[in-house]
Amino acid sequence: MRQIFAVFKRELGLYFRSPVAYAIAFGLLLFFGILFSNSLSQAAVQQGTADQLNFIPSILTFLLFLVAPLLTMRLISEETREGTLEVLMTLPIRESQFIIGKFLAVWAYYTVILLLTLVYYYVLTVVGVPDTGRTVGMYLGAWLYGGATLAVTMIWSAVTEDQVVAAFLGAATVLVLYLAEVAASAISNLPNVNPAIGTFIRELGFQAHYDATMLNGVIRAEDILYFVFMIVAALFITTRIVEVRRWKS
């Protein structure tokens, strides 16, 4: 655990010293701010309810296909390219501890951004009565969703030394997982195809475990397990990749 915490502390410090991370946060918060203010003024005229304005976490999860690769593209690929990965591997630390520490750091950074969006919820409590239970489910889901996308995009950071390629591939992967529901629907409509195939593909995607349930304040055990297993599986794969690379070198 000490090793994990050491890596975590180092990486988290790097994030909060990096201008890129602040630029990402600024861009997101400005975008959310414009969206929220505009919606608030419209809802005030049309007598909308507070829950209709509680959409920021869902926007954030949608944008993760852009944000997550940007946050994770340098995590391992930079170490590989600069040759520091081999040095780090000589330290008394296992590959899995190294990967977990890095992942926890980027997830913590994402958590900070997510917590900053609670400002919008606070505003809603001032102007109306939002459904707090639904908000809890929404934020829990967004947090797990973020963890899963970050873990998935980390895989590509371990695969390639090129950060741009890692970011691109990470974005494509997250987008594919985001659109799995659309693909499942199309496949299910094909003749002579077992509907279970469509269901399986849908279950692989992110939307099936967030949109219908956690975004609306319903917590299902399988949804929590999905995101946790997605994180575990992605970190497992990333660890395997780093181990193979190390063994080969």
Binding site: F16, R17, P19, Y22, A23, F26, L29, L30, F32, S37, L40, S41, A44, Q47, T49, A50, D51, L116, V119, Y120, V123, L124, V126, V127, G128, G133, R134, V136, G137, A184, S185, N189, N192, V193, N194, P195, A196, I197, T199, R202, Q207, A208, A212, T213, N216, G217, V218, I219, R220, A221, L225, Y226, F229, V232, F236, I237, R240, V244, W247, K248
Partner: protein, 574 residues
């Protein structure tokens, strides 16, 4: 020199172990091909999967050392078997996920109770669960494949219904595109964006199949609407129809053309009515089990179908007394007697009562029509002129392809002055080309020419069916000029556009206010929650919000970022 004995344990197996892996691969390939190309995972698919699993197990027994090194050796961590180990790990995760998914563990955090039952609903549904007379109920939810997310949401609420009702309420998802017949049976349109109703709540029959005719449809996933539909379906009500059997009146259970078994079976099987053929002794005996005007009944009607001989005065008085106390009567008139004597419906003891109290009575005639008649036979009048407002005829009125057959029908006379508190509705009329003859000899005619209209014949249109209601006593009567209206020979023609079955049933429903019964069932009203209140944004609050979300938050973070960058720049410089 001795030849060392071969160590039996080191003998090569008869079949190389890796053949088993090849066999497992083939089995798995078969299973995947079947899964991808067939609508169901058939025996072939299961066979392939079974072959794969068995082959792997046999390989494990044949080469245990290979298995051990594959799972724990360097190749497992860094070599070619890494992919296999990773795949097995993922399969294990999927297996655990599938197991947990099957447990349906969920928690509704919403304060609106959007996906779980409110207290009121819970009480109503729990009450149904312990009521033995309530049938099992099924909620059919029609969702296409593109609506999978909405289906997930709905299943959460439905699970709560099932659990609270102790599984008396079950649910089923139906794809209207894959099952168009089922969607049509419940009047569900197929496209998800233009559905007029998406849910159908239906009771189950003895075999556990939902009954479409008794289903209630609901448009949106609203807990109140669904619960109200469940309550309506569950409320069977106590509705009774007594069919008087006197002389040669129609027989309720007669399955022949002149019987009424079709109407009887629809009332009993589809609408859960109690029907009974009774005679005057049953009705008038002091210790009779049949009590007319029973306050315990939700609705009750006496039906007199035909009868060529009049009732006795005492029998007629029994019926008139029943009507005086708010009774309901549907009467079908037998045609003219050959000898000109009155029939049950036209005998003075009943006819004059109906005329003076309700303003209606049967005329002593027979209506013919040579132009609007079935098969050109003038006696078989095809009447399509029906009242569009009365609930008895509005479902079949105004449709040129729908008509009712009034065979050898009398016309109905209306009093020039309607009695006080009475409303008369002319339900069905013959066409303007019809005419009425009063000579019973016309019924013995053997040629069409013998039925031609004469100068002395009254000319149509004639009222062939009428209803009358006394708003003061609550008494209601429906008169049909032809005794053949409710008979099987015509009610079984409903698919050909013949309205006889419909008006036979709806006349009973109207007299008993059967359809109004459902509107009296206590309905759950949508609860108002604090979260439903619209937002209120005062101008100053609006300005503060804009400042916070557009300036302070994003540019505050930017400022911190710039400060951090400046500090690190200075540190690098120093």
């Amino acid at each position: 020199m001795t030849t060392p004995n071969p160590n039996l344990n080191e003998q090569e197996p008869f079949i190389p172990p890796f053949y088993m892996l090849i066999l497992a691969g083939i089995g798995l390939l078969i299973a995947v091909v079947v899964a991808l190309t067939q609508a169901t995972f058939s025996v072939v698919g299961w066979g392939g999967l079974g072959l794969a699993v068995l082959s792997v197990i046999v390989w494990g027994f044949m080469a245990p050392q290979q298995v051990k090194s594959m799972l724990t050796g360097r190749t497992a961590r860094y070599g070619g078997t890494t992919v296999l180990i990773t795949a097995l790990f993922l399969i294990a995760l999927i297996a655990v996920y599938s197991f947990v998914k099957g447990r349906s563990l969920r928690l509704d955090l919403t304060q609106r109770d959007t996906f779980s039952l409110t207290e009121d609903t819970r009480k109503a549904i729990a009450g149904l669960a312990v009521e033995p007379n309530v049938p099992n109920i099924r909620i059919l939810a029609f969702y296409e494949t593109a609506d999978a997310s909405q289906r997930d949401q709905a299943s959460i609420l439905f699970d709560d219904y099932a659990k609270t009702s102790q599984n008396k309420i079950s649910y089923e998802f139906v794809d209207p595109v894959r099952s168009p017949g089922l969607a049509q049976a419940y009047k569900i349109q197929s496209t998800s964006s233009s559905s007029i109703s998406r849910f159908a709540v239906a009771p189950l029959d003895a075999e556990g199949n939902p009954i479409p005719d008794k289903a209630q449809t609901v448009s949106f996933l609203s807990q109140e609407d669904l619960t109200n539909a469940i309550m309506r379906v569950a409320a069977s009500g106590d509705f009774r129809a007594y069919f008087l059997s006197v002389g040669d009146t129609l027989k309720l259970t007669d399955t022949g053309g002149s019987g009424m078994s079709d109407v009887n079976s629809v009332l009993k099987d589809t609408f859960n009515w109690k029907t009974e053929e009774v005679n005057m002794v049953d009705l008038t005996a002091p210790q009779s089990s049949i009590q007319l005007n029973d306050p315990a009944a939700d609705g009750e009607v006496l039906v007199v179908a035909g009868g060529t001989t009049p009732l006795s005065d005492a029998q007629a008085k029994f019926i008139t007394d029943y009507l005086d106390k708010g009774g309901k009567l549907v009467i079908y008139a037998a045609p003219l007697n050959a000898d000109g004597t009155p029939t049950l419906a036209t005998a003075d003891n009943l006819s004059s009562y109906l005329y003076s109290n309700f303003g209606v009575r049967f005329a002593n005639d027979v209506v013919l029509d040579q132009q609007q008649a079935v098969n050109g036979i003038p006696f078989f009048v095809a009447a399509s002129n029906m009242d569009t407002f009365s609930s008895i005829t509005r479902d079949v009125a105004g449709n040129a392809n729908v008509f009712a057959i009034f065979n050898t029908s009398r016309s109905i006379e209306l009093a020039p002055t309607t009695p006080a508190n009475v409303t008369i509705t002319q339900l069905v009329q013959s066409s303007g080309t019809s005419y009425a003859k009063t000579d019973p000899a016309v019924l013995q005619a053997t040629e069409i020419s013998q039925t031609d209209a004469a100068e002395t014949d009254a000319k149509g249109p004639f009222v062939l069916a009428a209803s009358a209601e006394n708003s003061q006593t609550g008494a209601m009567v429906v008169l049909f000029g032809s005794v053949d209206v409710p008979t099987n020979q015509y009610t079984l023609l409903s698919q050909q556009g013949v309205a006889n079955r419909t008006i036979s049933l709806t006349s009973l429903f109207w007299t008993t206010k059967f359809e109004d019964f459902f509107t009296q069932i206590p309905q759950l009203a949508a609860q108002q929650r604090p979260q439903d209140a619209p937002i209120v944004v005062a101008p100053e609050v609006g300005r503060n919000v804009n400042f916070l979300t557009l300036i302070l938050l994003p540019f505050g973070v930017l400022a911190i970022g710039i400060a951090v960058w400046w500090n690190s720049r200075e540190k690098r410089a120093s």
